[in-house]
């Protein structure tokens, strides 16, 4: 249930009131099963599982929502193979080569014929909204899937002015500074993974894992002008993650220091366990954002 990646967007904190009727709005945009001749379908589902009735879960000023989806799997190779056979059969029967338009029509017919028989793959993407700081963090490392969740939420709410996270400083410069020995913000320590890039076009890339970062080898790379594009960090011994120059948090992992608190809870049932886990995650993400915001100078979404 814990998110693995975070792509942030910011929205004005004055929007908090708009989320009072969130459940009803999400209910209207609930996931519908993919039709027999549709390629995919998207809609909101309950964060507690598809059969649960609650469409969102709120803990304090944090809201957890989940975008569900169903994609039909129809590989291009399957279509092309079947299309090749049909074209060969038709050409033999008619004794002439098929034109481009006829081939295209044949392909469209074939797709419509195969779609109802294709497998349906369910997908789900979680997102958490923080009304205090005005951010939404989507559990996706690709900008496209993250934007999808935000645009579905916008569709559900009617209006949702969320902007991609904007750092008013060079994230690459800040990360490089940390690895070169400049002080990190309180609570953050370096992890054991980084990616260094020579910023010129087609420049060298060095990726290291399980590597002590404050060492001579790394220093030599920095001396030749390379800069950090991804850096592993640990916050308060609770969360480890890799922060990229694109401001996307990847490989997010909740460490024993944080998860230990969960085991002390004496509530039972899946619902209670997910609630406790979400409360923990929302708290940690709030702290993570509060630590990164001043140092990377994230722009607010309101004047």
């Amino acid at each position: 249930m814990f998110f693995r990646n975070l792509t942030f967007f910011r929205f004005p904190t004055s929007l908090a009131k708009a989320f009072d009727e969130l459940d009803a709005r999400l209910e209207e945009c609930k996931l519908k099963p993919v039709g027999p001749s549709e390629l995919m379908s998207r809609g909101f589902i309950s964060p507690f599982g598809r059969d649960d009735a609650t469409m969102s879960h709120r803990v304090g000023d944090a809201i957890w929502i989940t975008l569900g989806g169903e994609d039909r799997l129809l590989p291009g190779a399957v279509i092309n193979d079947e299309l090749g056979k049909r074209i060969a059969a038709l050409e033999e029967k008619e004794g002439r080569k098929l034109g481009g338009r006829a081939r295209k029509r044949l392909k469209e017919d074939l797709v419509m014929e195969l779609l109802p028989r294709a497998f349906v793959r369910p997908t789900r993407t979680g997102a958490t909204l923080d009304l205090q700081h005005g951010f939404i963090a989507v559990d996706a490392s690709s900008r496209k899937s993250a934007e999808n969740v935000v645009s579905e939420l916008r569709h559900a709410l009617g209006s949702f002015p969320a902007l991609p996270l904007n750092a008013e400083t060079s994230a690459r410069g800040v990360l490089t500074g940390w690895i070169a020995g400049e002080p990190l913000p309180s609570g953050l320590v370096l992890g054991d993974e980084c990616e260094l890039k020579d910023p010129i076009d087609g420049g060298a890339v060095v990726k290291c894992q399980r590597q002590e970062l404050l060492c001579d080898e790394i220093r030599k790379h920095l001396e030749s002008g390379k800069q950090v594009s991804k850096l592993a960090l640990i916050l308060d011994d609770h969360v480890s993650f890799v922060l990229g120059e694109d401001l996307v948090v990847r490989k997010l992992k909740f460490l024993d220091g944080a998860v230990d608190q969960l085991e002390n809870t004496d509530q039972d049932g899946l619902h209670a366990e997910l609630d406790a886990r979400y409360a923990l995650m929302a708290g940690e993400l709030k702290r993570l954002f509060a630590v990164l915001e001043p140092v990377l100078k994230f722009s607010p979404a309101e004047a």
């Binding site: 209006s159 002015p161 902007l163 750092a167 008013e168 500074g177 910023p199 800069q227 722009s299």
Partner: protein
């Protein structure tokens, strides 16, 4: 399927000399582009270029060039010298930022970084870094400054827009200042941060207004006018000094 992998060949081009009114000759690059719809003469930091549609005759193109040769001479005279060398480590020139000229303060450090200091731009480079790394640090610096400006302006315009842009992209663009894709991705020319801030903000407002009207109709200009009444002055500034800004950025960040 494989057709998609093949890129269309670049349009055929040849360079011909054009005699100006004062008797001097200048090279003009003739490009025959099947996608072009009309004859087009442009001047950029790479020189003059004449674009011809597929069916345009040479006679017509020559007449077109003759008709506009005075304009061409005037534009070329305003271009900065094309021979200026790219920005190099240790250079003592000033750096343009938001319409001002700032001095460079060179420093030696453990890693490459450019920052805005009290008295100018502090460019820190490690011992072994070369000119290319200096230019890359400068590019990073300008990107940070442009994002800073965008971050300050966006909240002002956001409430009155039907939807926010899906993403922002800042990079050097060769001829245009900005664009908004059908997927609402906003692209802006990085050299805008070199010029005066009003022009940068106008281009942002212009592209944001395309979220309301995806055209240049009267209604579109009314939206621009209501947000940025002095847009004509900014447009004239970009038309006048714009090419020099683009050329300067390309020299600075290579």
């Amino acid at each position: 399927m494989f057709l998609r992998l093949i890129r269309p060949a670049p349009p055929a081009s040849e360079t011909r000399l054009l005699a100006l009114a004062d008797g001097s000759e200048i090279p003009v690059r003739w490009v025959r582009d099947p996608r072009a719809r009309r004859l087009r003469l442009i001047v950029s930091d790479k020189g003059a270029r004449l674009t011809l549609p597929r069916g345009a005759s040479q006679k017509l193109a020559l007449a077109f060039l003759q008709e506009h040769r005075d304009w061409l001479a005037e534009q070329l005279a305003r271009q900065p010298a094309a021979t200026a060398a790219p920005f190099a480590r240790g250079s003592q020139e000033t750096l343009p930022l938001r319409g001002l000229e700032l001095p460079i303060e060179w420093r030696e450090g453990r890693f490459a970084r450019a920052e805005l200091g009290e008295h100018g731009v502090q460019l820190q480079l490690p011992e072994r870094a070369g000119d290319a790394q200096a230019r890359a640090a400068l590019r990073d610096f300008y990107l940070g400054q442009a994002r800073h400006d965008l971050g300050g302006w966006m909240p002002k315009y956001l409430p009155a827009l039907p939807r926010p842009p899906s993403s922002f992209r800042l990079r050097p663009l060769s001829s245009i200042w900005g664009s908004l894709s059908p997927g609402d991705a906003l692209s802006l020319d990085l050299s805008l941060v070199l010029g005066r801030p009003g022009a940068f903000e106008y281009v942002l407002v212009h592209e944001l207004c395309h979220l309301i009207h995806a055209n240049h109709s009267r209604s579109f200009w009314r939206e621009v006018e209501s947000r940025w009444p002095g847009w004509r002055a900014e447009r004239d500034y970009l038309r006048g000094d714009g090419l020099a800004l683009k050329a300067r950025l390309s020299r600075l960040i290579g």
